[in-house]
Structure formats: C-alpha cells, structure tokens
C-alpha cells in the first residue's frame, strides 16, 4: 500500500493546490453561463437548450467516463486530458458565444467533469491508500471549498465590473495552475499501479452492481441532492424578491458562508470518519438537510437566510468527504473505484435535476415555505435511510 513516506513530500501539497484550482475552474460554469449568454443576446429558449445539452451529457457520461478512468492506467493523464477539455470549453464560450460552439462547450465541459472528479479521487486514493483516505479527502474538500468561495467572489466581481466574457477567460487561465499542480503530484505509484480494470471483468462488475451497500448509498446520495439542490436557488430568488438593491450581496453571502463552513469542518469530518466510522457522520450531514430546509422556511428576513445557508456547510462538508470515501470502501480490493464514482455521480445528477423541478413546481403552485418544507421532508427521508439501512463501510484493517 503506497504511503506518504514513499512519495516525494510535495505530492500532498500539489494535490491541495489541484483541488483548489479545479474548484476555481468549475465555478464559472453553472448558473453563470445563463447570465453570460443573456448578455450575448441569446433568447431564453436557446439558453435552456444549451444548458440542457450539458446536463444530459453530464448524466449519460457519468458511467462511461468512470469506466474510462478505471481503464486508464495513468490517472494523471486522464485528469490532464479533462483539464485541457475544460480549457477548450471555456475558450469556446469566451470567444464564440454562438449556438454550435456553446453547445459543444457545454457538452465538452460536462464530459470533462465526469472524468476529472473520479480521476482526482483516484489520485488521492493512490497517494495515501485506504487507511488515510478519509483525512486526505477532508483536505481535498477544504481546499476545494476555499477555491470555490474565492473564485465565486473574484468571478462575481469580474462579471460585474469587467465583463462576463472575462470570467471564462479567467476560467481557462486558471486551468494552467491546475495542470501544473497535477504535474507536481509527481510520479508516484498512482501514475501506474492503479485500480486498472481488465477489459471485461464481468464477475467484478456483477459483484459491484449487486452490492447492497452501493444501492443503499446511491439512494442516500440521490435523496441528498433531491433535497439539497433546489434550496439555494429558491432562497436566492426569495432574497431578490425581499431585499431589493442589496440582494446580490446577501446571495453572495448565501454562497460564500457555506464554503467557509466546509473549509473549517471537512478536515475534522475526514479524521473522524476514520476514528468513529462513516455512519455517525453521514447521519450528521444528512440530518442537517431537514434542519436547513425548516430554517429557510421559517426564518424571517433575508439576512437570516444566510444563517440558514450556513447549516448547508455541515451537509456539504460531510457529503464531499463521504462520496469518494464510500466509493473507495465499497470497491476495496476491486478495480472499479471510478465506475462506482460514476454510478454515484449519476445518482447525484438525477437527484439534483429532479430537485429544481420539484422545488420550483411546489413554490409556484403552493408557496415557497411549503417548497422548503417538502425539500426538508426529502432530507428527512434520506436521513431515515441512512439511519435504518446504511451499513458501516469502514474497513476492518484501520
């Protein structure tokens, strides 16, 4: 089992930076694309179409991309290729905001993300091994959330005062330090001796797909995102409705404050997952969802919504560590870690996509507090599944 000692000391530091810069890069994609395209005279229908193209590719590519990363001997090469894909996507968006290039960019970015996320988790796993993975993932999540928060602040300012195009140029530029950090991780065993899948490993695949832990955790992941994904957009629209001209500052707070909580909390989550096991932490993270939903439903006044949002940092810290950690637990000794990440990524995507539809629909037809309560109820259902059905997955040899 490769340990820290066998690797150049700069490996872990470089992985910190990789997580930081990759999170930076991912910030510009997402809801901001709609703002950018609106500024370039796109109609609402065209924007919806381009975003949907990205979502569909993101969904369809999860599993094949995971299998592809499993089959790639060198995970660093896979991650580098994905980052180059992100550079091309960002440049396409910046330089040619017209129909075909934008749709291509959205699809390319979605596919690259499906490769990048499991590849970074796989590099982490092979840098530190199963026994130290929790702590490592805690560090990954800390640096990713710092990167996310800083990038949101900087890109928000760039978009407001410079131009929305500059945001994507900045995104493309930030891929370069990410690539340098990736190279800086060094040639550890992670670059060759990996969880390589043989071309057709049917018994292994059958074992993975029939693993009850994966099924239950997949349901937990889907319920998490079904509860979580719509809360911020709904809260944001509520803030804009109530707070008027300073609403964007409060919404920025709603985005940045949870990132701060994740940065503070996730290293502890990582360490604790090795000491007390995964289950208690999962309960904490999943139970924070209904708590937040109820807070958002009852808290009066836009400023207090930021406090409600802070609670989401607890769930996000737990989720960010648990998803790759449990994928590693479940696939321990097999060669399908990245495929498992892809399956869980799909569960996440489906949950998130349905969440915005469900939350938006309830908010429109009934009322916003009821929508928050419904999302809280989904979170409670997820917590119940964790409580009653999710087994402890921490290995015996810890």
């Amino acid at each position: 089992m490769p340990r820290d000692g066998t690797l150049p000391a700069r490996g872990p530091r470089a992985l910190d930076l990789l997580n930081f810069f990759v999170a930076d890069v991912q910030t510009g994609f997402g809801p901001f694309v709609a703002v950018y395209l609106t500024a370039h005279k796109w109609t609402q229908v065209q924007i919806g179409f381009a975003l949907t193209a990205g979502t569909i590719v993101g969904m369809l590519a999860q599993i094949p991309a995971g299998a592809l990363v499993d089959a790639t001997p060198n995970k660093r090469a896979a991650a580098s290729g994905a980052l180059i894909g992100v550079i091309i996507a960002a440049l396409l968006l910046a330089v040619r905001p017209t129909q075909l290039p934008v749709i291509l960019a959205q699809m390319l970015h979605a596919f690259a993300s499906c490769v990048l996320t499991p590849a970074i988790a796989a590099i982490s796993l092979h840098l530190v091994g199963h026994s130290a993975l929790g702590e490592r993932l805690g560090r990954n999540a800390r640096f990713a959330s710092i990167g996310n928060g800083l990038a949101a602040a900087v890109m928000g300012a760039t978009g407001a005062w410079l131009s929305s195009r500059a945001v994507f140029l900045l995104t493309a530029a930030l891929c370069l330090p990410a690539l340098i950090a990736l190279a800086g991780i060094g040639r550890g065993p992670h670059s060759r001796r990996q969880t390589n899948a043989r071309a057709m490993d049917w018994p292994g695949l059958r074992k993975l797909l029939s693993d009850r832990r994966l099924l239950v955790f997949g349901i937990c992941v889907a319920l998490y995102h079904l509860s979580n994904a719509a809360m911020l957009p709904l809260a944001g629209a509520e803030v804009t409705m109530r707070a008027g001209s300073y609403a964007n500052i409060i919404i920025a707070g709603c985005i940045l404050v949870p990132q701060g909580v994740v940065a503070l909390l996730s290293p502890w989550v990582g360490r604790a997952s090795a000491q007390i096991g995964r289950r208690p932490l999962m309960l904490l993270g999943w139970a924070a969802l209904p708590a937040r939903g109820l807070l958002l439903a009852v808290l009066p006044g836009p400023w207090l919504l930021v406090a409600g949002q802070a609670v989401s940092g607890i769930s996000a810290a737990v989720f960010g560590v648990m998803l790759p950690l449990l994928a590693a637990d479940i696939t321990r000794g097999s060669s399908h870690f990245n495929l498992c990440m892809g399956l869980l990524g799909l569960a996440m995507y489906v949950g998130a996509a349905l969440s915005t539809a469900l939350g938006g629909w309830i908010a429109d037809t009934v009322s916003l507090p009821v929508a928050f309560c419904a999302l809280a109820a989904v979170g409670l259902a997820g917590t119940t599944v964790v409580w009653t059905m999710m087994p402890e997955t921490r290995g015996a040899s810890v």
């Binding site: 500024a39 911020l232 109530r242 008027g244 919404i251 920025a252 709603c254």
Partner: protein
C-alpha cells in the same frame, strides 16, 4: 478547365467589388445603431442610474405595438435572479446614449416583489407605472 476557373475568379471578384461598393439594393436602408438599438440582452438602468437587469423579451399585441418587456434582474453569478414583466411605457430608449440607452421608470425596490414572469403561455403579471395602477 482553365476557362471555368477564370469564370469563377471573375465572379468572385465581381462579388467582392459589389460588396465593397456602397451600392446596396434600392429597397435597403442603413440604420445606424445610434438611431435604432438592438435591445435584447441589453442592460436596463433604473431612475437612480444604477443597472437593474437585462431586457430579455418583449410582449407584443395585435397592433404590433409592444405591451411589456421582460427584465431579468438580481442574483449573484446567476443564482437568485428573477424575471419580471414591466409595462412598455415605463421604458425609455435613447439609442444615441451609449452608456445608458435603456432606462426604466421603476426602481429595483418597486419591481422586486412583483410575481415572477415564467410561462409565456400564461397571463403575464405586468408591473404598471404607479399612476396607471392607481386608476
């Protein structure tokens, strides 16, 4: 072969010449941007001179006259933005003013609580000027 080539070259040159010459067909008139502004996606300024949002759609009636404009406003990095429809007469256009060609009589505080404009197939909630609503 060669003759055919020469023919093509002549045609291309003729095309370029006609494009370069300022002789458009008689039914084409050139309208400069300071006389007619492309408004879709353009920023809209409030009474206090601050940017409110972007004009994203126009609702037009039987007579071809615009009735309302849809404005996308608020939010941070695309999170929390809302679309509302405002009465067309609340908007003023000054294509020659390159800094603030579109201004709205309503402030962000006056439009923030309006119901969101979502479905083009349903009746649009249009924010009126304070004088028309009091009638």
């Amino acid at each position: 072969m060669r003759a055919a080539h020469r023919g093509t070259v002549t045609a291309v040159v003729a095309l370029l010449l006609s494009a370069a010459g300022n002789a458009p067909p008689s039914n084409v008139q050139r309208v400069p941007p300071e006389q007619a502004l492309a408004i879709l996606g353009h920023t809209v300024t409030g009474p206090d001179g601050k940017t409110i949002g972007r004009l994203v759609d126009v609702l037009v009636g039987d007579d071809g006259e615009p009735q309302a404009a849809v404005i996308d406003f608020g939010g941070f990095m695309g999170v929390g933005s809302r679309k509302i429809a405002v009465q067309w007469s609340t908007l003023h256009f000054a294509p020659a003013n390159t800094k603030q060609p579109i201004t709205l009589d309503l402030s962000q505080d006056q439009i923030k609580a309006a119901p969101e404009y979502k479905d083009p197939a349903k009746p649009a909630p249009v924010v009126m000027t304070p004088t028309t609503t009091s009638q």
